[in-house]
Symmetry: D2
């Protein structure tokens, strides 16, 4: 019966029927003209989602982590210095990936619950007068803590010292859910995946590059082949792939883009805000606290919520799954045991969101949390009903 309930994990999202249908296609020939003809428009349309006109997009069979690897290995060389702030599990993992590819990673440790520290970045970059720092890495939406960082601010910090480093952004769980402006924010490498804002099955790393990043490919000496931009770029130009492409996912991506454009990206963002805000008013009504330290950091795709002292969030998510058949995000890394997460990205409706809030309320009550049944739901109901407009 579990299949009937929505998931409330921060991706993969509940897949809309239209996209399930679009992915459920029979094999066709990836070397045939119709594949070739459809590939270029798809890549062009992806640029609209990243909001870049001069950039280039690559789609690799893989997960978002593969996208990180692609971005790093294609544009940097072992020993290159990169500046990163660690403020969650995904920034942590990206750091690890950089280190394993031989980069010299300068880490700024930040409290989990905060975002990319533009001021500290500015400091370090200003101090780096000989420009040894080749890249600044930032996680736009830190899925572990539900924190959205100010990427424009990071770019501002970089510009302040006119530092030539490139800006790499993990937008896996923000793209197509919250505003992302690759070109306006001066992002050089933006990494995303199929299973979040695109609402598809997991399996595609979607990476956008600036022209500056593409130029860096020529000198970058990190070893790579599977994720090499050059092979992919050349093959794409000829309407193909350097190896077998995941045509079912690519078919789904076409439909996903159609859905996003039909609704309008700005409407997609405000819909995500609205669903998220309903969750946040419920959290407030419960008297619980978000991991994100201040409202400007609130993510609209996931909320990480501290459980009260003396409670274990893993027990809560396990209980919700075992008793009610509903999946919520567990606490990751430093948040393990301390926080649970409600994913609210993709096509999740207010109606579905309410069922998630009702469920976690029941689970908290079962485990003797100091929670009154229905208060979070009621707060969200009030918010949703006063903000919905007829469809």
């Amino acid at each position: 019966m579990r299949n009937q309930n929505p998931v409330f994990i921060p991706g993969p999202t509940n897949i809309p029927d239209r996209l399930r249908a679009a992915m459920n296609v029979q094999t066709s020939d990836h070397r045939a003209p119709d594949f070739a003809e459809s590939l270029q428009p798809l890549l062009e349309d992806l640029k609209k989602v990243f909001k870049t006109e001069t950039g280039q997009v690559f789609i690799f069979p893989g997960s978002g982590t593969g996208g990180w690897e692609a971005s790093i290995t294609n544009t940097l060389s072992p020993g290159d210095k990169v500046l990163v702030a660690r403020y969650g599990m995904f920034s942590h993992r990206w750091i690890d990936l950089c280190q394993r590819h031989g980069l010299d990673v300068e880490v700024i440790e930040c409290p989990w619950g905060t975002g990319a520290p533009a001021d500290l970045f500015a400091e370090r970059l200003a101090a780096d007068t000989d420009h040894t720092i080749k890249a600044v890495l930032a996680t736009h939406n830190e899925t572990a803590t539900g924190v959205l960082s100010d990427i424009a601010g990071v770019r501002g910090a970089m510009d302040k010292s006119s530092h030539p480093a490139m800006l790499y952004v993990d937008c896996v769980s923000s793209l197509a859910s919250m505003d992302f402006q690759m070109e306006a924010w001066g992002v050089d490498l933006a990494v995303s995946g199929s299973q979040k804002g695109f609402m598809l099955a997991t399996g595609m790393a979607i990476v956008a590059t600036s022209q500056k990043a593409l130029a860096a490919v020529e000198t970058a000496s990190c070893s790579r082949c599977y994720f090499d931009f050059r092979d992919m770029g050349t093959a794409n130009k000829n309407g193909g792939y350097p190896y077998t492409p995941p045509i079912q996912l690519i078919s789904g991506l076409r439909a996903s883009l159609d859905m996003l454009f039909e609704e309008g990206l700005e409407n997609v963002y405000s819909r995500h805000f609205r669903i998220a805000e309903g969750v946040r008013v419920a959290v407030a009504a419960w008297g619980l606290r978000l991991c994100a330290e201040s409202p400007d950091l609130y993510s609209d795709s996931v909320s990480a919520i501290y459980v009260p002292e003396g409670f274990n969030s893993d027990e809560l998510t396990n209980h919700a799954f075992n008793k009610y058949g509903v999946s919520f995000g567990v606490g990751l890394g430093e948040m393990a045991g301390k926080a649970f997460r409600i994913g609210h990205l993709g096509e999740l409706t207010d109606v579905q969101a309410l069922s998630g809030l009702a469920t976690i309320e029941m689970a908290m009550k079962d485990l003797d949390y100091p929670i009154e049944l229905g208060v979070g739901v009621a707060a969200a109901q009030e918010y949703y009903r006063s903000t919905t407009t007829a469809k």
Copy 2:
């Protein structure tokens, strides 16, 4: 976005993924041996759901109404007298169908919200000493009012006067959701469909007959052909159909029966009771009233709920659909404008039920119903959390 939300209509139900997959099969030959081999076991398994060992089941391409027509035209003759009580839209429609096939219908008018009147039936049958009444018709679950009738009681009333009339029961919206015992209750004709307890798409009338009913076929002179039991029975015996069968639905029915038996019919019934009871405690918390006049009449597949004086239930269901993208059952017939319905049959989970309750609460609040947001949800949460066991 509406597709993401469950429907809360009293059928067709939300279709479980397993059944969607089972119905999504390519054409195969209905005259091939494998179809023939699978048909007889399917019909036998249906008997288990009807709880008859001596009866016979027929599956017609059509809706439940077609099942009514099949039951009547195969076993009765124009001018035959039948005794029926009208206590809702579906008993009303069945009466109409009987009249249009030339039957002499003796109607007992009952208040909507009550069920089959065993005592009144007993009276009429006792008075019918020359046995002109050929059949008693009862709607087991009156979908318009959310009333479940006591069919065993009706049979008791018939037996009291040792009346030889046959008993016809509409179990369209009760079979495979609530207890139904064809043989124990002495039902001669039981009419159901694919889109309720079987959780499939609409398109199959499923009719079970007693041996007594089958014997009546020989002398019944209502004109019929498409729904003729004889053609169907003969063709079925040879592993086929008298015309093209709906193989996708039949494939789905196989999977549906598998699901029902895996869970166990008694467990299916108690699951329906539990989901329904949660809805009923919410209704009580709202201070609203069910159409069903007393607890013994409560249906576990649908609740019909009176709106307060001065409110229009059609406005409410329209509003819920237009603003929240959620479908509830409208008031039918006498209940038009006065009551709305929450369908809770099929694989609906407690989690989904809560989303329906939360939605209708918002809709009521929007329309200035004297309702406090969250109270119905909270009551249902309390009921559900105290009655669920880990899955």
Copy 3:
């Protein structure tokens, strides 16, 4: 493994993926505004397929046989005389249905393999000076013999004697595959189904009526309810159904109409002709004979083929199914044992048709038919390759 092979039965057809997707939709509310809004355009578009501007179309949950019953019971009265020619299994069954509804059926026996006998009709109608004949019934495409009748010719025969009888046509296996012109040919009732030219699952009887036929509904006294045009017409006008509609099939029908119109009906017909003609040249190459007695009678949706003296066609079709996992149509009625059928309607491609021809050749060879392997295929290849144009 059988599922991988196409079927070569004369319907249901192999279902195109696009239509499988369109039918694989979750439940939505058939009483909701969006259903209502989509119903009228669908019915209007169906009129284009029937080629009628003044007529009206009804869609019943049921099979084509239900459509026959609807056409008869809605427009005729017991005792009414109808004129029919029996020249195959489906005309035979329609006669039976008429008789069981109390009509006085005047049957013209014709050899199977011939079509509707316009001249004999003309004779009878001319002789019927007091106009006791209320209707002439003709099977446009006799699926049992692969014979296409000249309906315009039948109408001509009727017009010759200015006979006021209505013209009823079974176009189940011709509509949307071969030219059908309801209005131009003066057809009053045209009966079709979902599983042939519309390429959908079985489950909808699709019936078109002229205004004259609609007028006859008022006085027709055949008993009916489920298939009553009046209930359906009234409900349809209000955007609904008199009972639960098969929304998955209706969703499929929308997509089917889209496909037909995108290709263009005339192109659909010529595609069917081309596929059929390839089969016919193969039959000629085998030295076998079609049941259809002359080229003007050849059906483009199915070919019925006599097996040589001394061979049993049932053995052949069984063998093909059991050994190769491919379904062909069996010989029906008078053709049982004498002829097998190759269905070639719907989206069947020349490539698929060749696989069917290759299979039946192997099966014939296995059973010692005087056939040389490959000759039928080669003939069809030559025809197909010289008539295909790049897609």
Copy 4:
């Protein structure tokens, strides 16, 4: 209409409906207990397909090329010497991948159309007395030429000189189609993917390792992270993934393994042989020549076929696609323009294979190849009919 025809490319294969259904599942939580519980049995069952008891299997989101990268980067260090024979496009690409990861690749150039040269390997290994060669790489089934190599023979050559090098085998297009015996043949790294013998969508690299290979991971210094066996192994042990797993594909893999085991691997292999042999007799009947130089090298998953002198195979495959809507494999690398390929792996039936043969015959005839229509088909028909047994 193209979707209706099978593809005849050597992977991705035509996907059986059962597997399409298995991949068409809604999102579930990859961190939930049920995912964890199903992962280990899946990995164990994969070992049965690789025929290894002591090995370990890893599933990465990616294509087969990602599997190559995983095998190399996890077990070797820059500068390590590997011995490879180039005899087709895929061995060529693997060489390229090794070089780009800094390996010292000793290439044995072999004519395309031959297989792994056990004798030449033996020679080189014997000469490598100080054991600088760390690995021997062989492509089991060279998809570009339709050549199956004798991996047991390669292992024999290695054993002859008791050389300690590891044996890496690309079995992407052979596993689950032709016999592969990882343990018996002493294979240390076997690389496959989801879209060939497993009949699934593209998107998983499936890699099996020996314990010796696993031991090498500890010292291997090729940089890696996404494809790191250690992260994957650790996560798998805990029932999870180091990043988001492709659950739809994993669900499909479960069903694929069920299908393979239900049929029996040996039956799967003989079925592939039979389908392939039918294609080969057709090729012989056409008077054409396979790229594979001798029968012991014939692949049962793909046949690469030389076009006659003066013809261009690209023109042929384009023509077949454009005119008949059927995809065949193009000539790759050295074979570009010289050979086309017929893929015949997966669930392809004899009936479907015949349609491919009939199509390419038509295409050849259209382009004035010296081919008589039907001769290849007839030869294949004769072979298939004399080798099929009732299903």
